[in-house]
């Protein structure tokens, strides 16, 4: 008998293949030509535009929107990609509501920003649909750089270095590249295998050799890389997770959200991904929302996010919170996990006292066939000898680590938010610094 949302326990295929496909379609369908022109016309072409400053990659947003408005989306794409080679993915996954669109003067004026993210997608899609790469690689310099991690930071770094004529070897621990774009972000934000398509397109610049399935510390050493290359960039992300130290944390059905999402992302139609009838997600960040929403989209009957602090402290943006609520996810605040038992998950009510979070003594037990832990990722597998600060690889403004000749960027490196777009900026800027060093 096929399962449905009410099937007890864990079950795959709670919804039909068609319903799951529909649920995981584009969160924002692409703009058509006319809609793009209308949206572009709303841009005021601000002087020294605030949106540019708010973009971690400093894309010239007014210029690219004007290029769309005048019928040259390919030129718009080049404006975008010259600053952010993963502009296509960022157009899909950037929390624009807390970046460019938050400071759009239209937001100030009427509470409705120019839809910069969707316009960026319109432009980059137009260019990528032509299959052309807008940049030409400089003549080979004969210098070699190792880039470890084929996520957003590593890809941006590798592309910029290749562009400058350096020979790049790109390593990744997994069997394919893309990093969180491929394994992490919510499926409905980049459907249609976009992460792989973009990866292939980025590699189209040439001069980048990929070595997948090679992990630092597992046959690959920093010393070895340094010996064979003129520079090394580390974009290894946050491969570890915070441990949930409560009773029952090892029970069946308890899993790290990032692992569950990664498995789901790799499933072609997701009908084989088991999800609980009653799902509780622990945490309050983007990963918690992504896990909860996707559990709901797979047909879970009840999905709850339990966050230990209040709504104002929740790292997931109001947009993400509303998205979760609109899909039927229940958001619980001031609820800290205490134990996982056969009856479900025990949550302790909390409150802030003198700036400290304390438990009130009251507890609630929610039925939970599946508990997804989304309480933060941690640096893991960083090479010995690097200075670590605040759990991350210490870097200066140019991305240089404490070891000469080694740069780092993205989530693994100190500074900036853990966002795709920030990782791209850091990878790109480190590449520029490496280039400066190699050509000095």
């Amino acid at each position: 008998m096929p399962s449905d949302p009410f099937t007890p326990g864990m079950a795959a295929g709670r919804l039909s293949r068609e319903d799951i496909a529909a649920n995981f379609a584009d969160l924002h369908p692409p703009l058509d030509h006319h809609a793009a022109l209308v949206a572009a016309d709303r841009c005021y072409f601000c002087h020294d535009a605030p949106c540019m400053d708010a973009c971690p990659t400093t894309i010239d947003i007014p210029l690219f929107i004007r290029q769309i408005a005048t019928g040259t989306p390919e030129a718009a794409a080049k404006t975008i990609l010259s600053q952010n080679i993963l502009g296509g993915m960022c157009a899909r996954v950037c929390p624009t509501e807390t970046l460019c669109e938050e400071v759009c003067v239209r937001e100030t004026a009427e509470g409705k920003p120019v839809i910069i993210g969707q316009l960026q997608r319109y432009a980059t899609d137009a260019l990528m649909a032509k299959g052309a790469h807008p940049f030409r690689r400089d003549a080979e310099t004969g210098r070699k750089v190792a880039v470890v991690g084929a996520g957003p930071a590593g890809l941006a770094c590798a592309h910029r270095l290749a562009l400058k004529g350096h020979a790049v070897t790109l390593f990744d621990a997994r069997a394919k590249g893309g990093g969180l774009n491929e394994f992490g972000i919510a499926a409905y934000k980049a459907p249609g295998q976009f992460a792989q398509a973009e990866l292939d397109w980025v590699l189209g610049i040439g001069g980048i050799k990929v070595n997948y399935g090679q992990r630092l510390g597992d046959g690959l050493t920093l010393a070895g890389l340094q010996k064979d290359h003129d520079a090394v960039f580390l974009g290894i992300g946050l491969a570890g997770v915070n441990r949930l130290e409560i009773e029952g944390a090892a029970r069946d059905g308890v899993e790290d959200a990032v692992d569950w999402i990664a498995r789901m992302r790799q499933s072609p139609d997701k009908t084989d991904i088991a999800v609980g009838r009653n799902v509780v997600v622990i945490g309050g960040g983007m990963t918690a929302v992504d896990a909860a929403v996707q559990a709901k989209l797979l047909g879970a009957d009840n999905v709850t996010i339990a966050y230990r602090r209040d709504r104002a402290a929740m790292p997931a943006s109001p947009f993400e919170q509303d998205l979760a609520a609109s899909k039927g996810v229940r958001l619980l605040f001031n609820m800290a996990p205490k134990a996982i038992t056969a009856d479900g998950i025990v949550l302790a009510r909390t409150e802030a006292r003198n700036g400290k979070l304390v438990e009130t003594g009251e507890t609630v037990t929610l039925p939970a066939d599946q508990v997804l832990k989304a309480i933060g990722q941690t640096l893991a597998g960083a090479p010995e000898g690097l200075t670590i600060e605040g759990g991350k690889i210490a870097v200066d403004a140019a991305g240089r680590t404490s070891i000469d000749g080694v740069w780092a960027g993205g989530d693994c490196a100190l500074g900036g938010e853990d966002l795709t777009v920030t990782a791209v900026a850091e990878g790109r800027d480190a590449a520029e610094d490496i280039h400066k060093r190699l050509t000095a």
Binding site: V38, D41, H47, D48, A49, P50, T108
Partner: protein, 433 residues
């Protein structure tokens, strides 16, 4: 409620909104629909001579200019005068006028520049019971190549001559429709007046190419790979029309000559502006062609509301109200000093005022690190560009300095009225009294 009825050169209509001579008034079917929708009158699409009818192109007749949401801003046409037999039009005009005695039915005419054809056609129109005639001296395309339309309208002597013929053979009220494709609208207007015209109507369409297709390099609208200039109309031409109407209204020789205002009238507000500048009524075409006849309902309700709110009891009472306020540049007060003022609470910090002033004007707006934009009165010449480029209504306004106040730009106190005619820099200045 305000009284919208008008009597224009003796022709009564329930409101001042007429449909101009154009495709919307080419047939009985359309005109009946227009009257049912509430239009006060029509100028029937231009009739030509009896005989083989005019032919039109069988490709596009129109080209357009659009805003971002394909809002039609300007329309260009290469359609000629009616391409239906004269007799059919005359029969339809007769029937329609009989069924709508309270509406204005004026018939537009264009025949060769000879006395006989004009005599014949006006007599035929008289038999229809129509209220008047409008002489089409304006069409800039096609017919002009055959010595008609704007080819006549560009020669004041011809205007006068034809108008005299029409007045000689008919007692019908006669409107002369003027082309804007001339250097000075007063010459044709005065010629029409000399010829005995009861009124002028303007503007007809402006010579134009709407765009060039950059794949084929052909102008739009394109007929079989090439194009010919057409006549431009719609909202884009309104400022040009307003000026020409005002020029005639304030010209001593033509002052008091009734004017039917035409050119981009799209809303009640446009109509009120034409009337204030001296038009006794307005004619509409592009707005109807864009949105259909129903728009007249907004024009009627809007004009009524505005008149009620301002105590204007009749259309007549607002005709020409702005005319005394239209002056020559030399009459403007050079001692009228204003400064731009930015309302910081309304400012959305787009910086367009700064870019405009800094790059293209007088460097009179400063920008702080946190995007506060302020006017430097010592540099501001009050050009108004910042007001014009600001996307927020009333965020930037111009504040007048009172007499005796010091203008920080010049260091001089604001003096009483004085204009260029007495300015010391004017070599032709008359000595101040």
């Amino acid at each position: 409620m305000a009284d919208l009825t008008t009597t224009f050169i003796g022709i009564k209509s329930p409101n001042p909104f007429w449909l101009a001579s154009a495709p919307p008034t080419d047939k009985e079917y359309n005109v009946r629909r227009a009257f049912e929708a509430g239009w006060g009158g029509v100028v029937w699409k231009t009739l030509g001579e009896a005989g083989p009818p005019i032919v039109n192109v069988n490709g596009p007749r129109y080209g357009a200019i659009w805003g971002a949401d394909r809002r039609l801003l300007g329309l260009n046409n290469i359609e000629l005068i009616t391409d239906r037999p004269l007799e059919v039009n005359l029969e339809e005009i007769t029937r329609v006028k009989k069924d709508y005695p309270d509406r204005a039915v004026v018939v537009s005419l264009m025949v060769p520049c000879e006395e006989g054809p004009w005599r014949d056609i006006v007599r035929k129109v008289e038999d229809t019971g129509a209220d008047g005639v409008e002489l089409n001296f304006g069409c800039p395309h096609g017919m002009a190549e055959r010595g008609m339309g704007s080819a006549v309208g560009q020669v004041p002597e011809y205007i006068q001559m034809v108008t005299e013929w029409v007045k000689k053979y008919s007692d019908l009220p006669c409107i002369v429709k003027l082309t804007p494709n001339i250097t000075n609208i007063l010459y044709p207007a005065e010629a029409a007046m000399r010829g005995g015209a009861d009124a002028v109507s303007l503007i007809n369409t402006i010579n134009s190419i709407t765009s060039v297709n950059l794949d084929t390099f052909a102008p739009e609208p394109t007929i079989d790979g090439v194009g010919a200039h057409g006549g431009y109309c719609g909202p884009a031409v309104k400022p040009i029309a307003l000026n020409m109407v005002a020029e005639i209204a304030r010209n001593p020789a033509t002052a008091g000559l009734p004017i039917s205002g035409i050119g981009g009238v799209t809303t009640w507000r446009d109509a009120a502006e034409f009337i204030a500048l001296g038009a006794g009524n307005v004619q509409v075409c592009t707005a109807a062609m864009t949105y259909g006849f129903k728009i007249v309902q907004e024009m009627i309700s809007g004009l009524s509301q505005w008149m009620d709110e301002h105590g204007h009891e009749s259309v007549e009472s607002i005709v020409g109200r702005s005319v005394p306020k239209v002056k020559n540049w030399q009459d403007l007060n050079l001692n009228y000093v204003t400064k731009a003022v930015i309302d910081q609470s309304a400012c959305i910090k787009c910086g367009r005022c700064f870019a405009a002033c800094e790059d293209t004007s007088h460097q009179a707006i400063t920008m702080s690190d946190d995007r506060v934009f302020e006017v430097d009165d010592a540099e501001c010449v009050a050009c108004n560009l910042c007001v014009n480029v600001c996307p927020v209504d009333n965020c930037i306004t111009m504040k007048e300095l009172g007499q005796g106040e010091v203008d920080p730009r010049t260091g001089q106190k604001v003096a009483p009225y004085a204009n260029w005619t007495t300015h010391p820099n004017n070599p032709a200045a008359k000595a101040a009294e």
